[in-house]
C-alpha cells in the first residue's frame, strides 16, 4: 500500500484474492503451530487473537468515530451466550459441528450487532461522558439479566453460575481468520470513501453534520459493525473456554478493552492490535517468570491503572496516536489523517 500513490488504490478483486490466500496460509500455519508449539503457547496466541478482534472493533467505535463506549464486553457477552447456548443445547458433532460453529459464530455477531443498533440509537442524543456512562449502564443491565435468567424456553443459560459443557471448536485457524476479516474489514471500511464520515465525526461532529454527513447513520453504523465483531469474539471465546459466566463480561472486561485501544492510540488499527498483543502476552510472561518479576503479575491491574493515568498525563494520544505502525513521524499528514 505504502509504495503506491494514494489516488490509485489496489483493485478490490486483488485484495479479496490476497485475503483468501492469507486464509489458506493460515490453515497451513495452524498445522505448524499446533505441531510445534505447546498447548499453553497456542492458548496464549488464541487469547491474543481474541483481544485483537475486541480491540480493533472497539477502536472503530471509540478511536475512529470518537464515540466513547464503555460497554464493549456486553456485546461480547451477547455473542458468547448466543453461540454458547445454541451449541450447548444441540451439541452437533463432526463436520456438522464445524458448520454449526461457523454459523453460530456469525449468528452471535449478528445478534450482538442488533444490540449495537439498540445501543447506537441513544448515541444519537448523547455525547462524550454521557454516552460512556449510558453504555456502562447497558453493560450492567446485560450482566444483571444474564445473572437472573436461568433458561430461555428449552435453552439453558445457566444464570449466575454460568454455562458449562460448550463443545470445543475454536482453534488457531478460526481465531486468526476472524482477526483477518475484522482488521481488513474495518481497515477497508475506514479507508474507503464511505469511511471518511466516521473520522469526520470524531474530528468535529457539528462541522461534519454541517457539511452534510449523516452523523446519526454513521454513529449507529460504527456501533453495529463494532458490536458484530465483539459478538464474534465472544462466540469464539465461548467455544474455546468451554464455559461462560456473566461476571467474566463485566465492566472490568470493558475497561480492559478500552485500555488496549487507548494505549495503542485511539484511531490507530495497528496500534490497537499491538496493545492487545502486548497486554495479553505480558501478564502471561510475567506469571511464568521467577523471582520478583513474578510478583508483578499480581500487581498487573495496579500497573494497568497507573499506565493509563501516566499515559493520559504524558501522551494522551496513545503510543501510536492516530498513526499506523509504519507511518513515520516526519511524513506530512495526508488529508485523511488530518493534523495530529
Amino acid at each position: 500500500m505504502e509504495a503506491l500513490p494514494r489516488n490509485k488504490p489496489l483493485p478490490g478483486w486483488l485484495l479479496n484474492l490476497t485475503l483468501l490466500g492469507m486464509m489458506a496460509a493460515l490453515l497451513g500455519l495452524n498445522a505448524v503451530v499446533n505441531a510445534s508449539l505447546t498447548d499453553y503457547a497456542v492458548e496464549v496466541l488464541i487469547h491474543i487473537g481474541l483481544a485483537m478482534i475486541l480491540a480493533v472493533s472497539l477502536n472503530l467505535i471509540n478511536g475512529i468515530t470518537g464515540q466513547f463506549s464503555l460497554g464493549h464486553a456486553a456485546f461480547m457477552a451477547i455473542g458468547a451466550y448466543t453461540g454458547g447456548v445454541l451449541m450447548c443445547h444441540y451439541q452437533p458433532a463432526g463436520w456438522l459441528g464445524t458448520a454449526a460453529f461457523v454459523g453460530v459464530t456469525i449468528l452471535g455477531g449478528l445478534v450482538a450487532a442488533l444490540a449495537g443498533l439498540v445501543v447506537g440509537i441513544p448515541a444519537l442524543r448523547l455525547r462524550g461522558d454521557y454516552l460512556a456512562i449510558a453504555t456502562l449502564g447497558f453493560n450492567q443491565i446485560v450482566i444483571t439479566c444474564l445473572q437472573q435468567i436461568d433458561s430461555v424456553g428449552p435453552f439453558t443459560t445457566g444464570g449466575a453460575i454460568g454455562l458449562f459443557g460448550i463443545p470445543h471448536h475454536t482453534n488457531f485457524f478460526w481465531v486468526y481468520t476472524w482477526v483477518l476479516l475484522c482488521v481488513v474489514g474495518i481497515w477497508r471500511l475506514v479507508r474507503s470513501g464511505k469511511g471518511k464520515p466516521f473520522l469526520s465525526i470524531r474530528e468535529d461532529e457539528i462541522a461534519a453534520g454541517a457539511m452534510g454527513v449523516n452523523t446519526t447513520f454513521y454513529k449507529v453504523a460504527a456501533f453495529v459493525v463494532g458490536a458484530f465483531f465483539a459478538g464474534v469474539a465472544g462466540s469464539l471465546s465461548a467455544m474455546f473456554e468451554l464455559s461462560i459466566s456473566p461476571t467474566s463480561f463485566n465492566f472490568m472486561r470493558s475497561v480492559e478493552i478500552v485500555v488496549m485501544v487507548v494505549l495503542g492510540g485511539s484511531g490507530s488499527i495497528t496500534g490497537a492490535m499491538l496493545a492487545a498483543a502486548v497486554l495479553t502476552y505480558l501478564p502471561e510472561q510475567l506469571r511464568i517468570m521467577p523471582g520478583p518479576l513474578h510478583a508483578l503479575a499480581d500487581w498487573r491491574w495496579v500497573i494497568y491503572a497507573l499506565l493509563l493515568i501516566v499515559m493520559m498525563l504524558l501522551r494522551p494520544a496513545g503510543l501510536l496516536g492516530k498513526r499506523e505502525i509504519w507511518w513515520t513521524r516526519k511524513r506530512r499528514p495526508t488529508p485523511l489523517e488530518g493534523p495530529t
Binding site: 464503555l70 462524550g128 461522558d129 456512562i133 447497558f138 499480581d298 491491574w301 491503572a305 493509563l308 494522551p316
Partner: protein
Amino acid sequence: MQVFLQQLINGLSIGAVYALIALGYTMVYGILRLINFAHGDVYMVGAVLAYYLSCWAQKHVHSTVAALAIVLAGAMIGCAVLGFLIEFLCYRPLRNRPRLVALITAIGVSLFLENLFQYDGIFGANPRQMAQLIVVKPIVSFHIGGSPTAVVISSVDAITLGLSLVLMLALSWLVLKTRTGLAMRAVSFRFDTAALMGINTNRIISITFVIGSALAAVAGCIDAMRYDINPLMGVRPGIVAFTAAVLGGIGSIPGAVLGGLMIGMVETLLKGLILPSAYSGFADAAAFVVLIFILLLKPSGLLGKKALEKV
C-alpha cells in the same frame, strides 16, 4: 401498608447514602464537567478507613459516641486528603485538555484504587466486617392499623438519616451563605469569567473535591456499618449515585439529594414490594434502566438547567 411504610423507611435510609455520594459527583461535574469515576472508590476508601479506625477504637475508646466520632472524623479527613491528592495529581494537569482525556484518567484512578486495596498488605480482596460499635436494634417501632408486625426504624437508619440531614443542611449553608460558596457557584456558572473576577479557581476546585470526598467518606462509614467491606464495594453505589445525580439534574445540589432519595426508594420498593421475590434480583438493574431513560428523555434531569451546545 405496613410493608410499604417499612420499605419506604429502608429506601430513605439507602437513598440518603446515595444522595451523599451523588453530592460529590454533582459538585465536581458542576464545576469541571467531569464525571469523577474515582468517586465511588473514595467512598470505598471511607469504608476501609472506618474498618481500621473502628478496630482501633473498639480497643482504646470506651464511649460509643466518642468512638463513632473518631471513626467518622478520621474517615472524613482521610478521604478529604485523598480527594485533594487525586485532583491535584491527576486532574489538575489535564485542566485544559479534552474532557475525554480527563474521563479516562478518572477511570484509571478508579481502577488504581480498587486494585491497590485488593492487595493483601493494604486490605485484601476478601470482604471484612467493621467492628460493631453500635448495636443494630430498633429504636422506634410503631403499629399501623392493627397490623401484627411493627414498622421499625433501626439505630443505623436513624444515624444515617440524622447524619445526612445535618450534613446536607451544613452543605447548603456553605454553598448559599459563605464567600467560598459564592465563589463555588460563580466558578460553576462561568469558569473563565469567575477566574477573571479574581477567584482562585484552583483553590475552589480543591475545596469542592475535599467536601465531596468527605461526604463520600460519611456514606462509606454508614455502609460499613450495614454491609461487608471489600475493595470493589464502591463500583455499584458509585454508578447508582451518579445515576441519582443525573436524575436530579447534574450540577444541581438539591437535585442530587432528590435523585438519591428517589433511586433508593425505587430500588427498595421494587425489591421488597413490587417484583415477586423470584425476580427481585432484577431490581439491581433498575437504576441503570432509569439512567438510560433519563439520558434519552430529559438529559438535563429533574432540577437541572438545559445546556446549550455552542460551536
